[in-house]
Amino acid sequence: MKGSGVRWALLLPPGLVLLVLFVVPVLMMVVTSFRPDLRGGPFAWGWEPTIEHYQSVIQGGDFLPLLWTSARVALLVSFLACALAYPVAYYLAFRLGRSTALLLTLLIIPFWTSYLLRMIAWKIILGSNGALNSFLSFLGLTDTSAPVLLYSRSAVVVTLIYVWLPFVALPIYAGLLRIDRSLLEAAADLGASRFQAFRKVTLPLSLPGVIAAFVMVFIPTVGEYVAPILVGGTRGALYGNIIEILFGDGINWPLGSALAMLMLVGVFALIVIAARVLRVGRLIEAVER
């Protein structure tokens, strides 16, 4: 009945897709990171494997600190995005009414417009002659000689939070959905205030969703490079930009792949350590009970 047959039926389709279209290409790039250079093209054989790229990054001292900075930026963005999205998810999950799907989709629709176009419009709003600056200078808070909230690392953080908020609301929403309403009723019957019920029942039970949301934002944001280019200005570059410059403009696939591998390993290490420290596994089990 519930034999291993079911397990294979579940695992094989996603597993196969991931294997062919993801694991294989990534392994190709891992192999490339040990090549001295790209002479001979991607299919060349007979080159001597080397760890010089890893060595140059680790011992170089220019790029690894930026990885740490990018991780910190990602942590900040993820934390704030989840915190700011939680009320929205809560509202949608607990509201009575038929139009929840509509409200959910309303959040997402802006993202079906080109990111590029929205950023251009966003820059207009934030730019020197834009609405924000005009408003602030009207209030006498700034002179219009420089764009506020643009061309800086803070601009990158704000922009990323802005971009991720609706996405982050969705897994939190999904996590909140599964909370049994009867538990909340029971809490109320036992004399708990709404806030207490929230703190003791809803919040802990919603953690799997929040964790999923956090992971969903954190991981790609470490490697983010588009926002720094668009709004980061001169000093907004992050680790992802370095990869893009070296792998892309420099067509240095070995070095670029090495940088990406280091990022991969670093982030996974971070997550494993954090999971251990926060005892996430036990948390989820407790929640399940």
Partner: protein, 260 residues
């Protein structure tokens, strides 16, 4: 207590306003009689919309993105749901590894993945087309769908499941009639995210695309040129209005349906 409840809807509305602000700006400029995206506005024109409607390439690219997006989100949601069910409810060797692999597409820069896929496709002599773009997008959408559906599944009440089996249900029946309906909202959320990931994705598409462009790839080519740009802005506004219209329509249909 009442005031607290008004805060939440107000917060939601505030967020929605903030999200739609750039779109409103774009809408404004789509009627502007000038090609630069800067104030002051110069006068009203519907030229850009006319031009856009006549621009077969632009509309074709939009259609391509929609088709790919729907395909990708459907496939990714199905695959993600299967994986989520396996991960949350079953023990099997290599579970952590599988989870890691399922989530890692978030971590590999698309530039690198794009080049690697291009090398792979050319090595296997696979013609690049919208199908290859779809394949690439499915891969990077899976982490989202897995995470979203899994967070709904965690702590799924086993009692429900056992009750179903006690009543004589088979596993497929249980799946269809109990499990899937319960996680349907999460699947919808996953579907929406996957669609969004695919519809506006540029980097992977640029490496895996064949003769037919997707919208982001097409837009990239138009954005830099003043005389082409406003048509793109007009299209963006149309996409927004169309999606809003579609969603409202779906909402109406759904309430009409359930009322029967």
């Amino acid at each position: 207590m009442i005031s607290r409840f008004r805060v939440l809807p107000a917060y939601y509305v505030f967020l929605v306003v903030l999200l739609y602000l750039p779109l409103m700006v774009l809408l404004l400029f789509s009627f502007n009689d000038g090609t630069a995206l800067s104030f002051p506005l110069r006068g009203f024109t519907s030229d850009w919309y006319e031009g856009m409607l006549a621009n077969g390439q632009l509309l074709g690219a939009a259609r391509n993105s929609a088709v790919v997006g729907i395909g990708v989100s459907t496939v990714a949601t199905v695959l993600g749901t299967l994986a989520a069910i396996a991960l949350v409810r079953y023990k099997f060797p290599g579970k952590t590894l599988f989870l890691m692999v399922a989530v890692t597409p978030l971590l590999v820069p698309f530039l690198i993945l794009g080049v690697a896929l291009l090398i792979l496709f050319s090595a296997l002599d696979v013609d690049r087309s919208l199908l290859t773009v779809g394949a690439a997008h499915v891969v990077v959408a899976i982490p989202y769908t897995v995470l979203i559906v899994a967070s709904r599944l965690v702590g799924f009440d086993r009692n429900l499941e056992e009750a179903a089996y006690d009543l004589g249900a088979s596993f497929p029946y249980f799946l269809r009639r109990v499990l899937v309906p319960l996680i349907a909202p999460a699947m919808l959320a996953a579907w929406l995210v996957a669609f969004t990931v695919s519809f506006d994705e540029f980097v992977l598409a640029s490496f895996t695309i064949g003769r037919e462009p997707t919208l982001p790839v097409f837009i990239f080519g138009q954005v830099r040129f003043a005389n082409r740009f406003p048509q793109v802005v007009a299209l963006a506004s149309v996409v927004m209005i169309l999606s809003l219209g579609l969603v409202l329509l779906a909402q109406r249909l759904q309430s009409a349906w359930t009322r029967r």
